[in-house]
């Protein structure tokens, strides 16, 4: 198992290398640079700025120096400074030495801010939104799927699957404005835009206080985001539950005279949820990366806004940083799922 995880982590590095390579090539293939303006800068200033950010180096030098800054930890005696090109995500003091790791570089367009600043202040918002959305998706999706499977081809099944089809058919950009209009404008129950937590965050990711003032901002966007995924979970739960419930060991459990509740809860559900767990990983990654549509609709200060504007601004470090971050999320959550899968299903062995 350890062997397997190690190999997967190694493989993950390869994937991240390729992803960063493709992104790097693609973003430099887009014409124009970060300092091109409608009103042209004097060429000396332009050249100076490019020199300052090492944009005058050959592309491969830029690429590999970026990778080494991000990936290779360095040990120095110099304490962390406030300079934008010296901002590391991980700073560890070990005696006289500092271990610094993961410098994603400065942002070209917002001066005095680094990509790591964006990760510290904006990523937690997207992360929280994704987490709440995932919770909503599971809380709605699983019971819906179980209910549909247990009442196969009866009206609760039709209602459940109707809701599921509704969920996959009504995307964020449709459901978002409609719900904002109903609850934000017409009834004025919930604020139509904004987010209830500000940096600094607890443990770097979580809001400091969980109160109505926090959740009233989160309910609408998280519901809109999670609803589509709840449909996916509901369908999968139903399908796998229907399959499991026809197995012999369920018949055996019934034949033993177990109560129906016990059969469903202990014997059927436990096995039916295995395939569902496998989808939660990609779903979570999709939710965290997908938040940026929701963030646009609801005006939430998350990571998504930065990604879209960074592309039109040619803010290379921000583009690279966000794409790499999302890719790490995707790969890690897939790995996590495979491990959980092996724990849940003892028949699976990774060698």
């Amino acid at each position: 198992m350890t062997n397997y995880i190690l190999r997967r982590l190694l493989y993950m590095l390869v994937v991240l290398f390729v992803v960063s390579g493709i992104t790097f090539i693609l973003m430099h293939a887009v014409p124009g640079g970060p300092f091109d303006r409608e009103k042209k800068l004097p060429p000396e200033i332009q050249a100076n700025k490019e020199k300052y950010y090492h944009l005058d180096d050959p592309l491969y030098v830029q690429f590999f120096s970026y990778l080494s800054r991000v990936a290779i930890p360095r040990v120095t005696t110099i304490a962390p400074t406030l300079r934008t090109d010296d901002d590391y995500l991980i700073n560890l003091k070990m005696g006289d030495y500092w271990l610094k790791w993961m410098n994603f570089g400065p942002s070209y367009t917002s001066r005095n801010r680094t990509v790591n600043d964006i990760f510290r202040e904006q990523l937690p918002v997207s992360f929280q939104l994704g987490m709440i959305a995932l919770t909503i998706a599971v809380v709605i999706g699983m019971p819906l799927g179980i209910m549909s499977a247990l009442n196969h081809n009866k009206w609760p099944d039709y209602v459940g699957m109707g809701v599921a089809i509704f969920g996959v058919s009504v995307p964020t950009i449709v459901l978002g404005p409609i719900l904002v209009w109903i609850f934000g404008v017409l009834l004025q129950w919930l604020p139509p835009t904004g987010w209830g937590a500000k940096p600094p965050f607890f443990l770097g990711l979580f809001p400091k206080a969980l109160s109505w003032d926090y959740f009233k901002f989160a309910i609408l966007p998280a519901f809109v985001l999670g609803f589509g995924s709840s449909a996916v979970i509901a369908r999968l739960t139903r399908a796998s539950m229907l399959q499991v419930i026809r197995e012999d060991y369920i018949r055996t459990a019934r034949a033993k005279g177990l109560r129906e509740q016990m059969v469903v809860m202990r014997h059927a559900l436990k096995n039916a949820l295995i395939p569902v767990v496998t989808i939660v990983g990609p779903l979570f990654a999709g939710l965290v990366t997908g938040t940026f549509v929701t963030e646009l609709v609801f005006g939430i200060p998350g990571l998504g806004k930065y990604f879209v504007t960074s592309i039109s601004n040619r803010d290379y470090p921000v583009i690279m940083g966000t794409i790499l971050l999302y890719a790490v999320f995707l790969v890690l959550s897939n790995l996590l799922v495979d491990i959980v899968y092996a724990i849940l299903d003892p028949r699976i062995r990774y060698n």
């Binding site: 390869v14 549909s148 089809i165 009504v170 995307p171 404005p177 409609i178 990366t289 990604f307």
Partner: protein
């Protein structure tokens, strides 16, 4: 040997074609009996007709502005949305109102059908072609080729899809915005602007949507590759091409079509989303996504401007989802009941 095979071949051929035809007919029968799929199909046919006859149905063209009637609404809308009454310019000539440039919303929604349907029909074709070719090569040749090709797909899977497509669109939109005359990108750009920006959306969708299809195709090819009829075909000297297209593809087509149909709503959504963030179709070409985007900026004052295009988008996605579900039940009856 020839004496043996010759009389046998036509018989075998005939029985195969007969069986496969009845299989498709059977599927069609099942599809029509499925009420949801039938409704979806009818809605899609209506949408197609709307798109074709948009010029006849729409009372105005999609670009005709009338600034005097900016944000105008007919009376029934003011009754439906009491919140907008004090602002509104009343004009009964617009069935569901006009946008901030005084363009008829109804006509724009009608013309917007064209964009969504074009994506719905051409997107799957592109991804089907790339995915099927890639997947069948990978599955058919197996071994090292398969290994390398599937690793590439794995890496592409690690790309956050929506972000990748945004990056691609930015690349297309700016690289080919003002190319030099006579170059290849110039003609591509011309073609794109002729279609109102749709071409690049299609390419973007095609480039990001084929990986799942490739995986499925590979799996299917692997499952039929060792079947006896393939061995039989090979023993009578059929070429790889022939085996692939005559013997393997027709037998694995069902699941591939189902997957493509089920991913159509995703393609429609991708286009709407790209237009929503301003990387989609070029204005003034109407797309439901850009209309929702414009409308949601005025949600408080004129909810009708966002709600009606949103409704159109939702109905279309519903129809394709219902049809896709029905198609799956019809083409893969084994899954019926266990999968929904």
């Amino acid at each position: 040997m020839t004496a043996l095979t010759n009389p046998l071949t036509p018989v075998a051929d005939q029985s195969v074609t007969n069986k496969s035809r009845s299989l498709w007919q059977e599927a069609l029968r099942r599809l029509i009996r499925n009420r949801g799929a039938l409704t979806g199909g009818i809605i899609i046919i209506l949408l197609v007709l709307t798109a074709i006859f948009a010029d006849v149905i729409a009372p105005y063209t999609f670009e005709k502005q009338s600034l005097l009637n900016a944000n105008a609404v007919p009376t029934w809308i003011t009754r439906l949305f009491p919140s907008l009454k004090p602002y509104a310019v009343i004009n009964e000539q617009y069935p569901i109102g006009a946008d901030k440039l005084g363009r008829d919303l109804f006509s724009r929604i009608i013309y917007g059908t064209r964009v969504s349907l074009a994506v719905a029909f051409i997107g799957p074709i592109i991804s089907l072609i790339i995915g099927v070719i890639y997947g069948s090569i990978s599955g058919f040749f197996g071994g090292r080729v398969d290994n390398i090709m599937m690793r590439i797909v794995d890496v592409l899977y690690a790309f956050p899809g929506l972000l990748f497509i945004i990056l691609l669109m930015a690349f297309f939109r700016t690289t080919l915005a003002q190319p030099e005359e006579g170059t290849f990108s110039y003609y591509l750009g011309q073609l794109d602007s002729k279609f109102g920006g749709l071409l690049f959306i299609m390419i973007g969708i095609g480039l990001t949507g084929w990986e799942t299809q490739a995986r499925l195709t590979r799996g299917q090819v692997l499952s039929v590759r060792e079947k006896e009829y393939i061995e039989a075909a090979r023993s009578i000297g059929a070429t790889n091409w022939r085996i692939m297209f005559r013997h393997i593809l027709p037998n694995i087509l069902g699941p591939l079509i189902v997957l493509e149909t089920l991913s159509i709503p995703g393609y429609i959504y991708t286009e709407a989303f790209l237009s929503f963030i301003g990387l989609g179709v070029n204005p003034p070409t109407p797309s439901w996504g850009s209309m929702i985007s414009d409308g949601s900026r005025a949600l408080r004052a004129y909810p009708n401007q966002a709600l009606f295009p949103a409704l159109a988008l939702a109905v279309t996605m519903f129809a394709f989802n219902f049809l896709g579900d029905g198609l799956r039940d019809a083409l893969e009856p084994r899954l019926r009941g266990t999968q929904e």
